[in-house]
Each structure stands twice: as C-alpha cells, then as structure tokens.
Amino acid sequence: MSRFQFPPSIRSRPVYGTLEPRRGTAHLMVADAEGAEALLDLARAAPEMMAKAHVLYIPAAEGNDLADRLRATGPAQFYVGPSYAASVSRLRKALADAHMGLQIYLAGTEGLIGQAMQEAMSAGYPASAIQTEHRGSVARRVQCVHCKGVTENVSVTPFVCSHCGLNLFVRDHYSRRIAAFQGVCVDAEDPGDVPAQEGLYQ
C-alpha cells in the first residue's frame, strides 16, 4: 500500500495532495521510492508533458525499483540517484538553470518532499505553488530540539537521538526551513522514565 491517509493534526503539520498536470513551459519532477507511482499516474494523465520533463528519482534501498518504468514515460531528462544527499546538487543545478513557467512536482516520503521543497523555496519559488503527493513510508526526518542534530528515517516514538542520545518524543510540529519534525526529550523530568516505544501511526 503506497497511499496513507494522515489523520488531521496541528496546522504546522504539512498536508499533501494528488499531483495533477499543470500548464507550464517545463516540468521538474522529484520522487523517491514509491513516489515513482505518483509520477507514473501523472505521466498517464498527461503523456505529452513528459517531453518537457526533468525527472529525478531516488529508488528505495530495498524494494521495488521503478526506474525502468519511469524512464519508459519518455522524460526529456532522467536521472537516478543513490540517495537524496547524492542527488541534491543535481536538483540545485536544475533549479538554478530554470525559468519561470516551470512546474514543480514532488512525490514520495515526507523527508524527500520536505527537503526538495526547501530547495525550491530557497530558489525563490512560492511554496504554495509546489505540488506534492505522499507515497510510501511514513518515516520522518526529525530534528532534536536539544542538540539540533537531524535523524533520518524515524518510524517510532520515542526514539534515541542519533547525535546526543536523548530519548525523543516525535511531535507533529514541523519546520519548513529545516524540513524536519521536532523531537523533544521525553524523560527530562524523570530520567529513565521512558514510555513504551510505538510505531508512528500505529
């Protein structure tokens, strides 16, 4: 199952939509893992768009690699990267060379969507004009509010900060500027009194 219906939450928590084709002079599409399915749906809805599309895809470490199917949609430029960190320079270059009239589509995990959105925003593109669609894992990027270290791929709460070792409770409070949810020490008052760990959205 690649689609997950997030329950309503505080305003700070990002919400995602469904990608739809929009008129534009060029199209930049960024996806990771099962986010590729959202791009495939988009290409099916508007195949002609792909001739003006630049697709950046980061397959999951394990699981389905949808790169071949994405390539088959015939994007003008197609790039497959091993990780977001390895692909971000390509994304920055694409944004730096782009002109107004570009449409931006982001699909996949929250970490991918948030970080790519942060790049587009710092390129001056209005955040609310960027289309997003969540697919796949509900794991999050979490910043420890104490040491500021970011832990990737957090799927349980509380968890141990990979930088400072505190027990962090994962909040829905999100920062667009750093593209991460906030993790707050759960046992500050009573060190060692840590609630049982549970999966996010379980």
Partner: protein
C-alpha cells in the same frame, strides 16, 4: 472607526506640471513633523473639499519611502471621470491645506523574490517609482517595462532611463512599440515575481499570459483601482436604524453613506481590498457588482455588496449597517 483611515493634516508645498496630462503634488505635514513610513506600492486617500461635496480619492505614493519629509503623488487628468482629478488639476495650489489618510499598501513587493519584473502602463508607473527607490536602498534586483502613449506623454521616462539605463525599457504606442510579453515571461529566472499596474486591458493581458505560461498566481501581483462609476440613482436602507439614504447619480454608495454620517469601513475605495464588504439583508432588484473582491458565486448569491464601487438598480435594498 474605519480601519486605516487615520488622517494627516498636510500643506501642499509643490505642484509640478509633468506633462500635458499629469501633475505632481508634494505634501508636507502642516505641523512640521515627519510623515509616517510606508513601503513601495502604498497609496494614500486624498480628501478634496469640492464645493459642497467631499471627494476621497486613492493615489499611489511615488516618493522615496525612505524620505520622511513629504509624500508625493502624480495625478492624471481624466476629463471623463467624476471630477476628482480635475479638482486636483484646477483647484489645488501651493500653500493649500489638505487632509490625507495614513498610507495603506495593497500592492507590496514580495521580498522573498529573487527578481522583481515590473510592467507599467501610463500613470500606472507611480507605485513602481516608490518600489524602485525601496529596492535601490536594499540592492534589490528589478527590471521595468513601461508602456506609454507617446514620448511627450510618458511621465518620468527620462529620469528612469537616465538612472537605470539597463533595467528600464520604454515602449511608445504611437511608434508601434509593444512589450514582447510571452518571450519576456519565458525568459525570467526562477524566483521572479511579476507586478503589473496600468489600464484594465493591460492587467488582464499580463495576468492571462502569465497563467498560460505556467506562472503560479502567488508570483503575480497587480493593482487596479477602479474609479466608482456613475449610474442610476437608487436608495439604500440601513437595517439597524431603518434610515433610507439616497445615492445620487454621480455618487458611490460609500460616499452616500458617509455623507449621511455613517462611519462605513474602507481602505482602497476601488473595489480591491475587501474592507468595505457589507452584508445585504434583503433586496428587490439587480446588483451592479463592479469590484474585484467578491467571487462570482458571491456576486450571484446577492447577499454581499462592496459599496465603494458597486451599485444597485431596483425597488429596495437593505444593508446590515
């Protein structure tokens, strides 16, 4: 109290004929204090005592926002208008005392933009003059494309070209020059915001073209003040007091409410800001909606009206005031 309608007593300290159609006015505070600050794109509402009637017309501030000594506006003479611009041209002299509102900005720069692309038509140049000064002070990146009827009627073209030879492009209608809009828009770097001020047709053309080329609405800004238009006289009833107020042929409903002593809210007086939105309690007749504020659905519903520019034709109109 009407929001944004705090007043400033000023004295006219300079009247300059810019060309055959445009005059520039400089206002300084009568008490010698500093003017309030504003940001580029802001307007002020000028109060004109014209015989028995008080006219309140909005004009964009064109002076340098960093200059606290005075406000400056430029007024284009409109022979067809209801008389505000003619009053400014004919009656206002150096030394006159006048009243201005505090500035309000409905057309501000989005300072997150990497570049500001400005498109002006005719007297629509005025808000850009202040914005350009503001950007100059902060090393902002801008480009202006300015369309005028003829060289003689092009206000401030010479100054602009002399100061910013690489960033200002002037087009003369009478020489068949036109902005190559499609190419211009396609060539803008990501992060550009687009601003347009000018005649209605120009604003529509620019907004439509930008949309067709994939520009997000968030990056497109425009300002069009509608002048209230004359129409058939009608009357409006206030639900709270039952008072019936006649609206004359050359008066807006907002002006009629004010003349009757009602403290009705407003900011732009031009159908753009939404401040004057008024609930309709009942009506028997047809609305003449002219604003840019209400959605088409709201207009069709008939339970709201913008008294600054919209009118009514029919037997009765009761509003929630």
């Amino acid at each position: 109290m009407s929001a944004g309608t705090k007043k400033i007593d000023v004295t006219v300290t300079e009247v300059v004929e810019v060309n055959d159609l445009v005059k520039r006015f400089r206002f300084e505070r009568s008490d010698g204090a500093e003017m309030p600050t504003f940001s580029g794109g802001a307007h002020t509402v000028v109060e004109m005592k014209d015989g028995g009637i008080t006219r309140l017309n909005p004009y964009s501030l064109m002076s340098d926002p960093r200059d606290r000594s005075a406000f400056m506006i430029s007024v284009r003479r409109d022979e067809q208008g209801r008389g505000g611009s003619l009053f400014m041209h004919r009656e206002v002299k150096v030394g006159d005392r006048m009243v201005l509102s505090y500035p309000v900005n409905l057309f501000s720069l989005d300072l997150r933009a990497k570049k500001h692309l400005m498109i002006a038509g005719g007297i629509g140049i005025t808000p850009f003059l202040a914005q350009i000064k503001q950007l100059e002070g902060m090393n902002g990146h801008f480009e202006l494309h300015y369309s005028v009827r003829t060289a003689a009627l092009g206000s401030y073209t010479e100054e602009l070209k002399a100061h910013y030879p690489d960033r200002v492009h002037v087009y003369h209608d009478d020489q068949g020059e036109a902005i190559a809009l499609g190419d211009l828009l396609d060539g803008q770097p990501l992060g550009t915001h687009l601003y347009v001020c000018g005649p209605k047709g120009m604003i529509e053309w620019v907004c439509r073209t930008a949309e067709e080329r994939g520009w997000p609405a968030e990056a497109v800004h425009y300002e069009e003040f509608l002048a209230p238009q004359s129409g058939k006289p009608f009357s409006v009833t206030l639900a709270k007091t039952g008072k019936v107020i006649p609206v004359g042929e050359h008066q807006s409903m907002l002006e009629a409410l004010e003349a009757a002593g009602v403290d009705a809210p407003y900011l732009c007086r031009g159908g753009a800001c939404g401040q004057c939105e008024t609930d309709v309690v009942s009506h028997d007749g047809a609305f003449v909606h002219r604003d840019h504020w209400l959605t088409d659905d709201q207009k069709a519903c008939g339970n709201k009206i913008m008294p600054c520019v919209s009118r009514f034709e029919g037997r009765s109109l009761v509003i929630d005031r």
